[in-house]
């Protein structure tokens, strides 16, 4: 019964993962609204269900029953494809994230702690998350709207630019660890110490570039509601709009997961070796912390201007990331 091990378990595994991520998205939107409300002296959603906990459900229902409108001269296939590209690229990165120290077995079949323990895990994540920018560019291009187009132009330039410092910090991490495998990166941190201590600059650059990469404030220029109405999602409504939202939030979770694995030791923590479930809890807590920081930044930092964003990337982040890489390389070579 080898097919159960090679086929069924991964399928069930990933289905559970997708369901969790999609619910996670819904409640992340609730958490964000609630948190931002508290930051700004409001209450946030508190009508639907106890503490407004049913709000995401209500939102989802509302979105689903909305009429699907599309602009007259939109490039329809691309226009329809873009939102789902946004979600799927954000989700598939999760295949390589280890959740705990070891898996467990069900009826004699082993369930691994990571769906695909590939040795180019980091490269894989960097590759699939950057496809996400295509979703934005395609959406903006296909909706035949000036605001969307401007948003897409910004998104294209911004995401391509921020890939570079992001990639350079990853290289620094790879240099230190000597592997691109996620499990080994965590193992290295278990043996030594968290990489945020060894690579503080890389961690900070990664966080900033990641904000830009996942279109979060203060770098959410592709949608800047104050100038571009909603940027690339201006012409999307109903469930397609929700799909973009999902993509953005899952991207946030993914980004939180990457930064926890790379710099905060992933699932590691006291007792996580002995009790694998505890590792999962630590992992989620670390992701939650990163997400909290992203929301906090959103509520308190003004948005930068497009040209300043690019200047910041090319004239500050890039040299810093390069310098960090060179210093890391020299230290390791010695």
């Amino acid at each position: 019964m080898d097919w159960i091990q090679t086929l069924l378990i991964p399928i069930v595994y990933s289905t559970i993962l997708v369901v969790i991520l999609l619910t996670g998205f819904a409640y992340l939107s609730y958490v964000e609204r609630k948190l931002v409300a508290r930051f700004t002296m409001r209450f946030g959603p508190n009508r639907a269900g106890p503490f407004g906990l049913l709000q995401p459900l209500a939102d989802a229902l509302k979105m689903m029953f909305k009429e699907e409108l599309s602009p007259k001269n939109a490039d329809l296939p691309v226009y329809l494809l873009a939102p789902f590209l946004a979600i799927s690229t954000a989700v598939i990165g999760w295949a390589v994230f280890p959740f705990a120290s070891r898996g467990f077995s069900v009826l004699g079949y082993s369930v691994p702690p990571v769906l695909a323990d590939v040795n180019i895990g980091l490269l894989y994540v960097a590759a699939v998350t950057s496809i996400g920018s295509y979703a934005v560019v395609l959406a903006g291009w296909s909706s035949n709207n000036k605001y969307s187009l401007l948003g897409a132009l910004r998104a294209g330039a911004q995401m391509v630019s921020y890939e570079l410092p992001l990639g350079l910090t990853l290289v620094a991490v790879i240099l230190v660890v000597g592997s691109m495998n996620m499990t080994e990166i965590i193992q290295y941190q278990l043996d030594h110490t968290w990489l945020i201590v060894l690579q503080p600059f890389a961690a900070i650059i990664f966080f900033i570039a990641g904000l830009a990469e996942s279109n979060r404030s203060p770098f959410d220029l592709p949608e800047t509601e104050n100038e571009l109405v909603s940027g690339y999602i201006t012409e999307y409504g109903g469930i397609r709009f929700a799909a973009f939202f999902m993509g953005e939030y899952i991207h946030m979770i993914t980004f939180g997961a990457i930064i926890s694995i790379l710099f905060l030791g992933g699932w590691s923590g006291p007792g996580a070796d002995a009790v694998p479930f505890l590792g999962l809890v630590y992992f989620i807590l670390k992701i939650a912390l990163m997400i909290f920081m992203m929301i906090w930044v959103r509520a308190s930092v003004p948005r930068v201007r497009y040209d300043q964003l690019m200047r910041f990337c090319w004239k500050f982040l890039m040299p810093l990331a390069l310098l960090n890489l060179v210093v890391t390389a020299i230290v390791i070579a010695l």
Partner: protein
């Protein structure tokens, strides 16, 4: 009394100056329309006169005043260097009287002398039907392009008439709507100036998150760079001036609340001061101090709205500062509610004083506010003043030099941020402002950040004024004892026949000011608010002119946004601090 302006004009243009009239210390010099341009240039450039600020241009239809010729355009001039005012009036004959039915009375445009005349003349053309020769773009500004007639003329009916649009009236599709058909939205009237082929033309508004209401900006973009940015206004036009002509003086006060609806007290004060000057009423000191306190509170409240929305524009819709700023504005609105029952549409000042006496808890609640607020300003300043992102977004954005600002008639914090310490509260103090000790914050950079700093500094100055006002306030009558304008107290009516008669007369007829005209100005949070009143001796103003500072300041958007980036437009619009109610009136 010698009048330098008149004497100099008379000496230089003996045949252009037709007459002079002085009423309540305000001089009106009548000038021959044909020579207006020469006279204007002289008034602006003569070193002894230097009337560099054109406050207002408005037309008067003198049909029922018994004056001839029928029309006149008035120019309110202010000389900032010499702190002097004058009004130039140019009478215009109506060509329609000579059988030329479709010809409008025409006069030279002064746009070349004072840039601000651009929109003001368009408005005069729109509402009064006076043509300005040599105007760069003489189109309707507040009303739709295909509107029929000029509403401020005395022969234009008021009330109950069908809305006249030329388009669609005969279209059977709209038969069920009768004659009240609004036209389809017009393409931006100034788009013809724009290169819609080579550049990207984006229409920001009237439904757009960053335009603070129904403002429409046609933006010509080259990539992200702004080639030109033309505001189109008038979506909220509600004919205040025409309405004012059919209301008694006192009854226009609630309308002032709807002008700049985030600084109602200031609007009330400006209007009430103008009428008081017209009626020559003295206001008791207690009421004057109370007015100053309330107006300064209103200034803080208005600046809170500006700060919150500006931070939101620059950041994102959920930037925390919006709610923080509005929270403290709420505290002020609570005080207003306690004082007069209304939070936004206060109408608390009446001609001759305050409508009601201040409530007993007034001073305590203001003190309570003053105790908490300084900490809050410090919070805001730590959040923004040295925030690198905030600074890079604002510094060097929307530069408007003092020269440009004065040319465009821009007043208020925008002018002060360009280094000109021009504040009417100091220059021509009203309502006992001369008894208060305060500074005029200025900055020299003339960019959005300078305006931010100036407004933040004004908060401190306003608090200083309020503190002094509280110390001075004391007890006293809250309203003038002049029974010709203020209602007698209730107790007096049951004992005094005379009081009863006054009460009856005031309620049934209102007061009747003497024949004359004046132009009252006051320093609002957003700039100079002006009310021009022409009285024909009846209980209604013959002509009521409103100069909204937002309207005039908004004209500078194009100049300030040019060559910036798209994102800078929202910074610029936010830092001008407009309220559309006042822009469109």
């Amino acid at each position: 009394m010698t009048d330098l302006t008149y004497d100099k004009l008379k000496a230089n243009f003996p045949d252009a100056v037709l007459g002079k009239e002085t009423f309540r210390d305000e001089t009106t010099i009548t000038v021959d329309a044909a020579q207006l341009l020469k006279v204007s240039k002289f008034l602006r450039d003569d070193p002894e006169l230097r009337f560099n600020l054109l406050l207002d241009v408005y037309g008067v239809d003198r049909r029922d005043l018994g004056a001839s010729p029928r029309f006149a355009t008035s120019y309110e001039l202010y000389s900032i260097p010499h702190n002097r005012r004058v009004r130039i009036e140019a009478p215009l004959a109506d060509p329609a009287e000579n059988g030329k039915k479709d010809t409008l009375p025409a006069i030279d445009s002064v746009t070349g002398v004072w840039g601000t005349a651009n929109w003001l003349e368009r408005e005069t053309y729109d509402l009064m039907g006076i043509e300005f020769k040599g105007h760069p773009w003489l189109h309707r500004i507040l009303l739709p392009q295909n509107w029929v007639g000029h509403p401020l003329r005395k022969d234009y009916p008021i009330g109950g008439e069908p809305v006249n649009f030329t388009a669609d009236r005969d279209n059977p599709r709209f038969a069920h709507l009768g004659k009240q058909i609004m036209d389809t939205p017009t393409f931006h009237s100034e788009l013809e100036d724009m290169d819609a082929e080579g550049h990207l033309v984006v229409n920001m508004g009237p439904q757009h998150p960053a335009t603070h209401g129904v403002l429409r900006l046609a933006v010509e973009l080259d990539g992200e760079r702004v080639i030109s940015c033309k505001p189109e206004v008038g979506y909220l036009h509600s004919g205040f001036e025409k309405t004012g002509e059919s209301k008694r003086y006192e009854k226009f006060i609630p309308y002032c609340d709807r002008l700049d609806y985030v600084s109602t007290m200031s609007n009330n004060l400006a209007y009430v001061l103008a009428v008081e000057k017209l009626m020559d009423v003295d206001v008791p000191k207690h009421a004057q101090y109370a007015r100053v306190i309330l107006v300064e509170l209103q200034r803080i409240a208005s600046h809170m709205v500006w700060l919150g929305t500006h931070a939101m524009d620059v950041s994102g819709t959920i930037h925390a500062l919006l709610m923080y700023a509005f929270y403290w504005r709420e505290q002020i609105l609570d005080i207003f509610e306690m004082v007069c029952g209304a939070r936004m549409t206060t109408s608390y000042f009446s001609v001759g004083g305050l409508r009601w006496a201040l409530p007993g808890a007034f001073e305590d609640s203001v003190r309570h506010f003053l105790k908490g607020f300084p900490e809050v300003i410090k919070d805001f300043e730590t959040m923004l003043t040295d925030n690198p992102v905030w600074r890079t977004r604002l510094e060097g954005v929307g530069v408007l030099t003092a020269e440009q600002a004065i040319d465009l008639g821009v007043t208020g914090p925008l002018l002060r941020a360009a280094g000109t310490g021009f504040d009417l509260r100091k220059a021509q103090p009203y309502s006992s402002y001369d008894e208060f000790d305060f500074d005029i914050p200025t900055a020299t950079e003339a960019d959005s950040y300078a305006r931010y700093k100036v407004r933040m500094a004004e908060l401190w100055q306003s608090m200083r004024i309020i503190e002094q006002g509280l110390a001075k306030l004391g007890k006293g009558p809250h309203r003038t004892a002049d029974r010709k304008v203020a209602l007698p107290p209730r107790e007096e009516i049951s004992t005094s026949m005379e009081a009863l008669i006054h009460h009856f007369k005031l309620v049934t007829e209102g007061y009747k000011p003497p024949v004359g005209r004046l132009y009252g100005i006051a320093e609002n949070p957003k700039g100079i608010l002006g009310f021009g009143i022409i009285s024909d001796g009846t209980a209604n103003p013959y002509r009521l002119r409103v100069r909204g500072p937002s309207f005039v300041n908004l004209q500078a958007t194009d100049l300030m946004a040019r060559q910036g980036l798209l994102s800078d437009i929202v910074t610029v619009v936010g830092s001008i601090d407009i309220v559309l109610g006042e822009v469109d009136r």
